[in-house]
Assembly symmetry: C2
C-alpha cells in the first residue's frame, strides 16, 4: 500500500516575481520540510508540466529538477495537458507499486502569466486537435459547445451553471492559497461578459501560476512515524479522442466515466462513501459533467442538483465538492492542478483544511481532466 | 520478467510527405501486425516525444494516440529531451512490473524537418538550461566544449573522433531504415565544415523524421507463443544537472555512469557479456564518452580504442557498437531514437539484423542520453 505523507503548495495566482523553477523549488522545499525528509531520501521524482516548452522553450525538466534537488535519481516529466499533474501522480503510484521501500516526490507546476494572453491561449490550445486549432476553437469554445448541448438537451439555463462558480468562489474565500478569495453571487456570474456563449468570465477558471508537491511512500519505517498518513486506494487513467467531433456523446466525458468506474472498482468502496471530492471545473459545465460522469449524480440532473448547493461546505451535504475553490477560484496553474486536487483531499482527510474542513471524512476523490476530455485521472484516497 | 515481442520502425530521414502522427500510426500498425495483436489487446501506451509542442503546438499526445488506436486505455507521454524514447521504455517496464498479465506498446516519434533549421535548433536547445540558451550555446556548442576538454586532456586529435562516424556510416550502409546509407572515410569527416570546433558536420547526427515502436509483455500466453522473445534484464534511469557548468567533470557523463552501473548490477552480468550495444552518438565525442562511462573502455583510452575499429561489425571484435548506424547515420528523430536503439538490440538478439547481424549474441545494451547528459537511460536485454 502507498501512502501520501506530506503536501505543500505555493500560493496560486499572478506571481510576477517568480519563475517556473522558483515555484517548483518552493513547493519541493515545503514538502520536504513538512515530512522532515532530505532530497537524499527521495528515490524518484515525477513532474507534471504542460506549457514550459511552448511558452519558454524549456524542455528536459527532469534534468532541471535534478539540478534543484542535487541528486542523480530517476526523474520523469509527465505531460497530458491539464491532466499533467494527475498523470504524474499516477506514474508515481505505479513506480511505488513496482519498487518496495521507496519515497517518491510528485510535483506539478505551471508559469502562465509571463506571456501575452494570446501566447498563453495558443499554448493551451495545443491540448486540442490540429483541426480544432485550425478552426480557431479555443478551450472556452470547446466547453461552450458541450454546455450548449447540455443546457438544450436537459432544459437548463445559464443560471444553473452559475451555481458552480458561486460555490467554488465561496470555498476559495476560505483558502489562503487560492488565486481568488472573493465570494460572488449568481447575479455576478450572469452579468459577467461572455467568453464563448453560454460561458462567461465567471464560468471560467483563470490563468494562474503555482506549484504543488506531494510525497508518496511505501517505506515501512516512514509509515510508522508519520502523523499524517493517507492511503492511495486507487489512481486510474483513461483516455479518449482528442477531437470532440470524434466522440459519440457531447454531454459526457467518457474518459471520466471509465477512469471513475475503474477507480471505484479498485478502491472497493461506493460513491456514497466519498465525503469530499475535487473535480475538474475548468468551466462551470465541466463540474456538472464530472459529477454525473463520476456517478455522484444521474445524467441530466446536475443542473438541478448544483442549485441546491448541497456540495458547498457550509451546507453540510453528504458530499462536499471543490473545497479548495476548484480550478475556478483556487486557480489553474495547469501542471499543478492535479497535484493540488489530491493535496486538498489529503488536507481534508488529515484534518488540516482549516476554515473549509469537512467533518468525519474517511474517503475522498480527486478528478483531473486533460483538454476537452482526452485524458482523465481519478484518484481515491482514504485515512 | 518482461519481454519484448516485436519491433517496427519507419524509415528514418527527411519524410516530407508524412506528419508526426502519420509516422506514429505507421510504427504502431507495423508492430501490431508483426505481433498479431489488435489495439484492443494493448493495456497501456507510453509515447516518447520531445518537440511537437514547441514545433507544431501539439501537446496532449496521449489523447491523440487514443484516437489513432480507438481505445480508452492509460496512455502517457514521456519527455526527457533526446532521452524521451528511453524514458518512455523505462516507464513501460515499470508499468509491467506493477501490473501482471499485460501488453504495453511503447512508441517514440519526432517530426523535425517541416521547420526552418533555426526553429528546429531553437526547439532542440530547449533541452539545455536557460542560461545556456541565453548564452547562445546550442548542442553542438555544448558537446564541442566537452570534445575540446577531452582531446586536450588525453592528447587526441579530431582524427580520433572521426573514426566514430566512419564506423557508424559503414553500419548505416547496411541498414535499409537508416537516414544515411553512404560509407564515409576519415578524410571525408576531416574535410567537412565545422559546426562548432572541433566538431564538424560529419561528427554530428542529423535532424530526422521517424517513429519506432515496441511491444512489451508479461502475458504468459503470449510469451509461450512468440517466436521472437527478448527479456528486459534492466532499464535504469539517472539524471544530472541541466547546466554543463554545474558539473564536476567535463570528460564524463555522470548520468551514464550511474545508470550503467545500476543496469549491470540489476542484470547481474559483466561488461564483457555484452556483444552488441547501441550508444548515444549524437556527436562523435558522445560515443567515446559513452563507451568509457559505460565501463567498456577505460577513461581516456577511447580515442585510441575507436581507431582500432574493433566495434565495427565486419571486424569481429568482442563488442560491436551502433550496428543501426547510430544516431549519426541511422538518423536522430529525437523521440524515436531511444526506442530504435532498443529495437536494434532486439533485432540483433533475435537474428533479424540482416546484413549487419552479429553472430552469437546473447546480451545487448542500449544507451540513450538527454541533452548534454542531464538524463541517461541504460537498458540491458537478453535472449
Amino acid at each position: 500500500m502507498n501512502f501520501i505523507i506530506g503536501y505543500h503548495t505555493t500560493q496560486f495566482g499572478e506571481l510576477w516575481e517568480k519563475s517556473l523553477f522558483d515555484l517548483v523549488e518552493e513547493a519541493i522545499n515545503g514538502v520536504l520540510k513538512q515530512t522532515s525528509l532530505s532530497s537524499r531520501q527521495i528515490d524518484a521524482v515525477f513532474f507534471g508540466n504542460m506549457l514550459a516548452g511552448v511558452l519558454e522553450n524549456n524542455l528536459h525538466s527532469p534534468s532541471k529538477v535534478s539540478e534543484i534537488l542535487k541528486v542523480n535519481i530517476p526523474i520523469f516529466r509527465a505531460e497530458a495537458a491539464c491532466a499533467s499533474g494527475g498523470a504524474a501522480f499516477n506514474l508515481a503510484k505505479t513506480y511505488l507499486d513496482s519498487n518496495s521501500n521507496k519515497n517518491v516526490l510528485v510535483v506539478g507546476a505551471e508559469k502562465m502569466t509571463d506571456y501575452s494572453p494570446e501566447e498563453t491561449i495558443t499554448g493551451l490550445s495545443a491540448a486540442s486537435s490540429g483541426e480544432e486549432q485550425e478552426a480557431g476553437l479555443t478551450f472556452p469554445g470547446l466547453y461552450a459547445m458541450m454546455a450548449n448541448f447540455y443546457l438544450e438537451k436537459y432544459h437548463f439555463t445559464e443560471e444553473n451553471l452559475a451555481y458552480v462558480s458561486v460555490k467554488n468562489h465561496y470555498h476559495g474565500s476560505l483558502n489562503d492559497k487560492a488565486h481568488f478569495r472573493k465570494k460572488i453571487s449568481v447575479e455576478d456570474v450572469l452579468k459577467s461578459p461572455y467568453v464563448a456563449y453560454p460561458l462567461k468570465v465567471l464560468d471560467s477558471s483563470p490563468i494562474s501560476d503555482g506549484a504543488s508537491a506531494l510525497i508518496l511512500t511505501n517505506r515501512h519505517d516512514l509509515i510508522k512515524k508519520q502523523r499524517n498518513l493517507v492511503s492511495v486506494l486507487a489512481s486510474e487513467v483513461a483516455t479518449d479522442t482528442i477531437s470532440l467531433k470524434e466522440r459519440k456523446k457531447f454531454d459526457e466525458i467518457l474518459a471520466t466515466k471509465i477512469a471513475g468506474d475503474a477507480a471505484f472498482k479498485k478502491a472497493k468502496i461506493n460513491r456514497r462513501d466519498i465525503k469530499v471530492a475535487e473535480v475538474h471545473d475548468c468551466f462551470s459545465i465541466a463540474e456538472i459533467l464530472a459529477m454525473e460522469d463520476l456517478g455522484f449524480w444521474e445524467k441530466g440532473e446536475g443542473g438541478n442538483r448544483i442549485k441546491e448547493l448541497l456540495t458547498m461546505c457550509e451546507n453540510g451535504g453528504n458530499l462536499i465538492v471543490n473545497t479548495s475553490g476548484g480550478l475556478k477560484a483556487a486557480g489553474h496553474p495547469v501542471g499543478a492542478t492535479g497535484i493540488k486536487q489530491i493535496g486538498e483531499i489529503f488536507l481534508q482527510l488529515t484534518g488540516q483544511a482549516e476554515k473549509r474542513q469537512v467533518n468525519n471524512v474517511r474517503y475522498g476523490l480527486a478528478h483531473n481532466v486533460g483538454g476537452s476530455g482526452g485524458t482523465a485521472v481519478v484518484t481515491i484516497l482514504s485515512i
